[in-house]
Subunit: 299 residues, 2 copies
């Protein structure tokens, strides 16, 4: 990881942490447990790749930092809500996340469902508030982008397909199907983060094409790297259970392509993503560093 | 129920049904099951009190019908998502809703979690879309109002307190606490429906005070009537399990006040709500009919 990227990640991690620490105040009644669970999930770690993607895109265009951080926190709230729900016993049934018990184990299942729901609503509260932007067009466009990326045509739809991929395995899911699945499950939200940075910068729709191409490539690269980590990674570093895909006989990029071809593909996508940036003079940006990091990370 | 209200309810029920039938298209892939579950929950019945509240408020001010219906559908999507999640085994563990198996029984738990999440996102998609209103201020204000009413300071927070009320019973929950709980759990969303009707009509904030007072009163009246129906209602008409509160030893308006005082209180609140309307010349409106119906309904 470049030193510049390491500093930027640390800064964003601190900003996201401070933001939720400040805005998620624990009320002195029975809702205290709910907000405790929201804080536990939001403050318990995470690479904060999505907020950094948003901030780094916004930075290309000189957007005010606080606005980018706030919008990044909305995307991260959606990401974390989805992790809480995905970890539930009826979904992926995971016990550990960021090296800690998952929310339904640390609290209980009902609190986990409600904490996810509350973070989901909180994301849109953050974006709809006039404090987000004095321009209501910007607020409405941010919300439309995030809602579409997280709903049944995006992240939630992708999770539904992912469960089918686990149930049916490679019999039904070829490379094309897994690509489409992951473009929804992971790619939609990563893409939304980049798109929202461009919205804050008021980049017109036609000026966003290279950013969309960049986001599409790193979205797939990110997921292939995740599949590789599931096979080759270190559970202690990952802070979660690994080797789950293979045990489940699930169709993934690695099960379909093999380890070596998958690694080559991830790197090729990362290079391709940087190529889109280069065509717009942004090859020496944090976004380029992120594209490299995404396929080299060990957690 | 007045004939006028019966016609208005039927019309709104048809409009809400048609809206979701049209906008929730079932894709021809593994997400089909997810959208099937969303349709099952959205089209399976329901009084549509929230959309009617919104439409009736908007009607006072001559708002275009289609806009009010669309916003009403967003509120109803939030209401239905909350029912799907509340019915889950880890929450209220209900088997029947609108006389049919609940979503997690008709489909499965994972699909129920994701269908709720997807309807949650869909509500904000509906409001953020330029088709909602050409005025982005209106879109942003609608979203802010709905997100706040549904999140941890509103509906989700109220559900959290409600579970505590069931666990701790009347020992911890006096009338004041139950009132506060229900103002969040049920009242916040009913209030949002009225508020959103006023937002569509561009009623300035200070002009909404009487509508807020009306919404607060009918919100409590609605919940007291619900508690009475839980004790005295007919399961076949209600289409869901009743007598659950008493069995659980839960603190409710009825357990704390007794049946007779609760009924008197519901009617007094209904009259008071109509009084707020009368002070603004709206005593002969659908909103007044609704205030009467809410405490007289048998389901």
């Amino acid at each position: 990881m470049s030193e510049r990227l390491a500093r930027a990640l640390q800064r964003t991690q601190r900003e996201v942490r401070d933001f939720f620490d400040r805005y998620l105040e624990v009320p002195n009644d029975e809702r205290g447990r709910l907000v405790d669970a929201m804080r536990y999930a939001m403050l318990g770690g995470g690479k904060r790749v999505r907020p950094l993607l948003l901030v780094a895109t916004a930075e290309l265009y000189g957007v005010e930092r606080a606005a980018a951080v706030r919008a990044g926190c909305a995307v991260e709230a959606i990401h974390v809500y989805s992790l809480i729900h995905d970890d539930l016993p009826c979904m992926d049934d995971d016990a550990v996340r960021h090296g800690q018990p998952t929310v339904h184990l640390r609290f209980d299942e009902a609190t986990a469902v409600l904490a996810g729901d509350s973070l989901h609503a909180f994301a849109f509260e953050l974006l709809a508030d006039p404090a987000m932007s004095s321009d209501p067009f910007v607020r409405a466009e941010l919300i439309e982008t995030l809602a579409r990326a997280s709903g049944h045509a995006g992240m939630a739809g992708g999770q539904m397909m992912d469960m089918a991929a686990e149930a049916e395995g490679a019999r039904q899911f070829d490379l094309q199907a897994v690509t489409r699945l992951q473009q929804m499950k992971t790619g939609a939200l990563l893409g939304a983060a980049v798109e929202m940075g461009a919205i804050l910068a008021r980049v017109p729709d036609e000026g966003r094409a290279y950013l969309r191409a960049y986001a599409r490539d790193i979205g797939l690269a990110f997921q292939i790297a995740d599949d590789l980590l599931d096979v080759e990674g270190d559970e202690a570093k990952a802070g979660k259970a690994l080797r789950k895909d293979e045990d489940a006989g699930k169709a993934t990029f690695v099960s379909l392509m093999g380890v070596d071809a998958a690694r080559r593909q991830a790197h090729a996508l990362s290079e391709q993503a940087i190529g889109h940036l280069a065509a717009h003079g942004a090859q020496d940006s944090l976004l380029a560093d992120l594209a490299r990091y995404i396929v080299e990370r060990d957690r």
